[in-house]
Each structure stands twice: as structure tokens, then as C-alpha cells.
Amino acid sequence: MITSDVIVVGAGLAGLRAALELNRHNVKVAVVTKVHPVRSHSVAAQGGINAALSNHPRGKFDSPELHAFDTIKGSDYLADQKAVLKMTTEGIERIYELEHWGAPFSRTEDGRIAQRPFGGAGFPRTCYATDKTGHVLLHTLYEQALKFEAASERADMQIFDEWFVTRLIVHNGTAKGVIALNINTGEFEIFAGQAVIWATGGSGRVFGRTSNAYINTGWGMCVPFYEGVPLKDMEFIQFHPTELYTNNVLITEGARGEGGFLLNNKKERFLANYEDSAKAMEMAPRDIVARNMQREILAGRGVEGKYIHLDLRHLGKKKILERLPGIRMHAIHFAGVDPIDEPIPVAPGQHYTMGGLDVNLNTESKIKGFFAAGECACVSVHGSNRLGGNSLLETVVFGKIAGEYASAYFKDGGGEDVPVSFLNQILREEEDKIEQLLKSKGKEKHSAIKHELGEAMDSGAGIFREARTMNASLEKVKELKERYRHIGLNSSGRIANFDLLWALQLKGSLDLAEVILRGAINRQESRGAQFRTDYPMRDDKNWMKHTIASWKDGTVHLGYSSVDLSLYKAKKRHY
């Protein structure tokens, strides 16, 4: 048994920031992560991180309040407004802190942190490091973690990488730690603590066409869900307008922020032809741009009938090399296209999970001692549509808050002690589960189920939704769940058994798919990223509320909760 004051699960931006905060408060922390910290998916974020620093000549009059308003409007008014203002206000300090810790931001001519325009924002407020912002921020936090790990003046901080968490330990309604499998030895271990901070990221791999990494299976959201932490607003899935047509690798919104155009097969900037994007054009928010791109493709105006061209050629070689070097290499590696000479083939694809584990603006959940931050959590600061550049901000702001509140909770004594016999019993349950899975010799292949799930979600829970196709996908998911009970593994060893890990995580993907579809079917309106062709209007009277999904005896139950609308009145969105 490994004992710590607080256990952090996940070592992307939110998890590492939480761990650093715990260490600052002199609280002992064990970070448990299924991949080495720098392999976390935060590393793939490209375009930037928003804060009203007013470093850009056109951003002189920017403020946290204006940033909050843009975020709330972008969310189609489903974000909790005080939480958003907290994020935009504290965000400024968090960015300066990252810079103080060594993050190599790109710079303005006067040597300040550079900012670029992003969709749905009134001012250029997206701070960036070329088009590798997530990469440099994650490495910066990892570097700080190494510094803190080595430092002797404060309580221990230790990172356990390549440990796969299978279970959240909850005793009498209180989180007391996790059970994790050492991937490289196949041995289980109990990580016992007085509080648990969850930071396992998004779940894009529930879909087929997604920009997300392979590791974003949805398992991370399901482990606490199974133990009683509800999931909020899971039907709101962000489809990023510009994913590489060939393999869905992300092409940053920064490419449009720097002046890139979206063109149909007639070489028209077609966004001008749609009422909701006519003014902001390429800088309209993601939900609107993705929808209008999809409409062009469906109307037969896609290039080769299938995709849209993202044209950067007019930016010139110098600007592309200076500000967008990463996506240039993506286009070269994966589409055989150099954006300096040719337009990039792009199409919308799954990108971000607006919903997540239900927490309040202090990252607290209904389970005592359980906190969550980052993409796996839903505060909600993104509502039904996230603005680009706000996800990185969310990770560091709420990662810190989680560390702060978990420290306070720990120092207040935490929850009541948990008997060792209880811990051992849970450990045995997990052992049995894995042993059974390892022995499974059914006819079904989990990889085939995964691919069929991806197709079902792409077709039923995509950009345009309607009851008929969503119900068909839900039926399909139920069929896949049944088939999952009959899978067979063809690898039985315990050491680095990836066959086992993918099979295990698929259960999470399947359960999450049901939560997404059920929430989407129930919500009879169009709001933000959810567009229903059978209910094309937003319906504030009936649906200005968060969807709350709970897990009871192996089934999903839906309920609803209110939205904090205390600062701004809901209006129709135009850009």
C-alpha cells in the first residue's frame, strides 16, 4: 500500500498544476498516471491560452469581464457565470506564473507575451508559443514538478507513471484513494489518501473521427462515475472545424487567427453566406464554423465532395514558419501537402468534451474528498460550446483551485478513517475482475467493437443530430455492450499487456457513449454544439439547465440542475 495525503490521478496540465499547489501547501502528494506526464494529451494543444493581458495593440481595452462575457456568449449561455468570471480573473495570474516558471511564450515586439485573435473573442487575447502552446506549457509544469520532486524542504511529491487506475475507493460517501495497476509489472497497488483529485482529461475516442489521442478513451471519466460522481452535460461535444481530412489530426484555430481562409470547391469564403458567421467569418466560434462547413459539404460544395480547403498561402512563408510551424509539419506528414504552396484539406471532427464530472466552482463534487479539474470535469465554464484557448486556461486555473481546496480539506482532517480490511476487499475485487478479463475466451474482438462504436457515434451524435439517428445509435451501443460481454483476449501475460488495457477501457467508452446519447436524445433543443434538425431552436424556457447523469446499479439515470445566470442575460448569438 502506498500512502499519501492526497492522490492526484492524471498528470496533464490540470493534474500537474494541482500537484504543484498541494506541494506549495506542504501536503504530501502521489500523482498516478497511465502515461508519462509529457505524453499526456495536453501536449497536443496548439493555438494558445486565453487571458486579458492587453498585450496586443488591438487589445488595450480588454478585461476579465469582457473575456467572461465572450465565454458565456460562446457557451450559448449554459456556462455558470460566476465560475467563468473566476476563471477569466484568476487566469491572468496563472499565465504570468507559467511565464515565471519558464514557459517560452512567443513575444511581442516589446518583449511581452504575444497574443493572437481566436474565435468568438472580442479582442486578440490568446497567448501562444508558436502553435505548440500545450507542448511548452506541459513541459514547463513537468519541469517544475521535477524541481519540486527533488526539493527537500517541503512534503514529498512523487509521480507514479505508467500506473493505470481501475477503481476509485469510496467509503461511506468519502473518497479515500484509488486502486491502480502497474502497467509494466502487472501488479496492483492501493494508493490510500485523505483526498483524491481527478484530472484524467477528455474522452474523444468514444468517437471515430476525433483529434484526440488514443489514450482519451473515456475510462478516466467512468471510474468516478461508477462510484457515484455524476456526469454533467455530456451531450455537448465540440467538433473542431479544422481537423486534417486524412486522419483528424488537429490544425489549430490559430491558423485562422493568423488570417487563414476557409474555401469551398468554388474557392469561395462561404462563411459570408451564413447569417451566424457573416461578420466574424473564420473567427466565429467553433460550433458555428463547424456547422457551416458541414452544410457546405452536404450541399455538394466540398472539395472532391468531402472536405474544405484551409488556405494559408497568402500569409506567406515567413509567417507560416514563424507562427504555424507545427501544423505545417502535420500537413506535410499526414496529407502530403505543404501549406506554403497548397491549401490544407480539412473537415470538422470530434475535439473536446464540454461535459464531465459534475463539480462546482471550487472543484468539489458530491463525494466528500473528491475533486476534479480540467477536461474530465464540468464546472461548467464552457456550457454548450467552448471557445478556443479556454481549455488550457481551465486546466491551470481549476488545477490550482483543486490543489488549494484539497489541501484545506486534508488539513481539516479529511474524512473518517477507512478500515484496512475494506481496502483489501476492494483490491481483491479488482484482482478478480482483471483475472477474469485475462481469462476471457469469447468470440468477440474488442477492437472491432471499438471501431463500430466510433462509427455509431460519428453518425448518431455528430454535428447534426435527430431523434431517429440518435436512437439507432443508442440501439447499436446497447448491442455492442452485449457483445462486449463475450470478448476474448489473446494475450494473457501481466507485463505491459496493452490488449488488456484497451479491452478494459472500452467498457468506459461504451458506458460514456450511452450517457452522451441519452442526454442528447432527451434535450429537445439546439444549443451550442448540439444542433438538432428536429428541434432547430434554442429553448431557454425548457432547457436552460444542466443535464446530470448518474450511475445506479449498472444503468444510467438522467436528472437536471440549474444554471448560474447571475451576470448576463441570455440573448441570441450572432457573430
Partner: protein, 243 residues
């Protein structure tokens, strides 16, 4: 119908095998397919026990560096069509094998920790951002792109015979902080890399430069560290800003 290619893959499971072997798989290859996708095909359809790390599949997380047809590369960024009809894959060298293509990168990360891989600024962290000019930032351009994949370390012959040699990635990181205008720990940093297992152990073989998937060019970074150390020996008043 897609063309097939032959994949010969290094296999070793310490739990059951005394010795490594190469398994042969026939994989149908379609245009645009990467080596990582071919490995996925094998794991999903031919042999679920094949072990390798993977995550972002876009060359930024650093999980999938391996030896592919004679060169260390990222499996996810390598097109199968660029490789001929037979493809041989081995794990990274100089590290213990956990299983198949998964190696224990602990020594790699221990050496990274040894160079104090974090900013050591002169002044306390207060207020707004520190000022850094665009030129000062430009010096860091390629160095900060390092994804810690280990390809350079595995390719380095010196790492092969000197277990304690810091290796290209850790040394490049030392130069990244030394040359950051905000960092104020020159003497401390150079002292950490100037012993017998530091920069002067480098034989300038250019392997790291050749294999780095992100063009970090560790060779040039090591050369700069050597220059900084020697210049200070010759002229105690030498400052990195003087170059």
C-alpha cells in the same frame, strides 16, 4: 486491394522468454498508412500481445520512438510507403526491455533530472511577465520543441559504452536553459555538464542530429555548451550575452 508489406518485429517477454526473437507479420497497407497504424493493425488483428507505447499519433507526445529499418524514428510520423516492402522494427537501444518495443526509460529521465531542467531565474517571481525580446526567444525555437522521445539517446554510440553519459536530450535541455535570457544560473548549469560524463564525452558523431524528429539538433547544443565552458576558462569575464 491494398499492397501488403512484411513487418519483422522484435519480440521479448521477460516473463516467458529466455531470448528475443523476430516475428513476421503481413500487413495490408493503404496509402497514407503510418508505421504506428501498421502496429495497431497487428495488435488488433494478428497478435494482441504485441507491446508498444502510443498516444497522440501526431508526433508531439514522444511515446513511439523506435528503430525502423535502420533508423530511429517516431512510428506515428513514418509513412509505410517510404520504407520498401520489408520493414524491421526494434526497440530503442541502451535501455532495458520491459516487453517487445517497450523499454525502461528511467535512466533517460534520471539524466534529464540531473541537469536541473527548470528555469532558475535571478529575481523572485512577481508581477507581470519578464521581458524577453523576440531575438532572445528565437534562440530557443527548436530546442524547446524537444518531446523527450529518446531517439537521440538510443542512437548515441557514447550512451552505449558510458552508462553515466548524460546523453543528447539532457544536454540539449541544459543548453536550452543556459541560453534562455531569463535564466541566471550559468555557472551552476555548466558545472553540471562539464565532468567526464558531460559534454566532453560527446564524440560529435551527429547521430542525434540525424535522428531527432523535431530538429532540435542536440549536436549543436552540445557544441555550444563546450564553447561556453572553454570560453570561460580562457576569459573569466566571458558572458553568454557577449556572443
Amino acid at each position: 486491394m491494398a499492397d501488403s508489406k512484411i513487418f519483422k518485429i522484435f519480440r521479448f517477454n521477460p516473463q516467458t522468454d529466455k531470448k528475443h526473437r523476430f516475428d513476421t507479420f503481413k500487413v495490408p497497407c493503404r496509402p497514407g498508412m503510418t508505421v504506428l497504424q501498421a502496429l495497431n493493425y497487428i495488435q488488433e488483428n494478428l497478435d494482441g500481445s504485441l507491446a508498444y507505447r502510443s498516444s497522440c499519433r501526431e508526433g508531439i507526445c514522444g511515446s513511439c520512438a523506435m528503430h525502423i529499418n535502420g533508423k530511429y524514428r517516431l512510428a506515428c510520423e513514418t509513412q509505410v510507403s517510404h520504407l520498401g516492402s520489408s520493414i524491421t522494427i526494434r526497440p530503442m537501444a541502451h535501455m532495458d526491455i520491459i516487453r517487445d518495443l517497450v523499454v525502461d526509460m528511467t535512466p533517460f529521465f534520471e539524466k534529464l533530472k540531473a541537469i536541473k531542467p527548470y528555469l532558475i531565474p535571478g529575481d523572485p517571481d512577481e508581477g507581470a511577465e519578464r521581458i524577453q525580446t523576440q531575438d532572445e526567444r528565437a534562440y530557443l525555437d527548436y530546442i524547446v520543441d524537444c518531446i523527450l522521445c529518446g531517439a537521440c539517446y538510443a542512437s548515441c554510440a557514447v550512451n552505449g559504452y558510458d552508462d553515466e553519459y548524460l546523453g543528447p536530450a539532457a544536454l540539449a535541455k541544459a543548453n536550452r536553459f543556459l541560453m534562455d535570457s531569463r535564466d541566471k544560473a550559468d555557472e551552476q548549469r555548466l558545472a553540471l555538464v562539464s565532468d567526464e560524463h558531460g559534454v566532453f564525452r560527446c564524440h560529435t558523431l551527429f547521430n542525434c542530429q540525424t535522428v531527432c524528429p523535431k530538429n532540435v539538433d542536440p549536436t549543436a547544443n552540445i557544441a555550444n555548451l563546450k564553447r561556453q565552458i572553454i570560453a570561460r576558462q580562457l576569459n573569466p569575464k566571458f558572458s553568454k550575452k557577449g556572443i
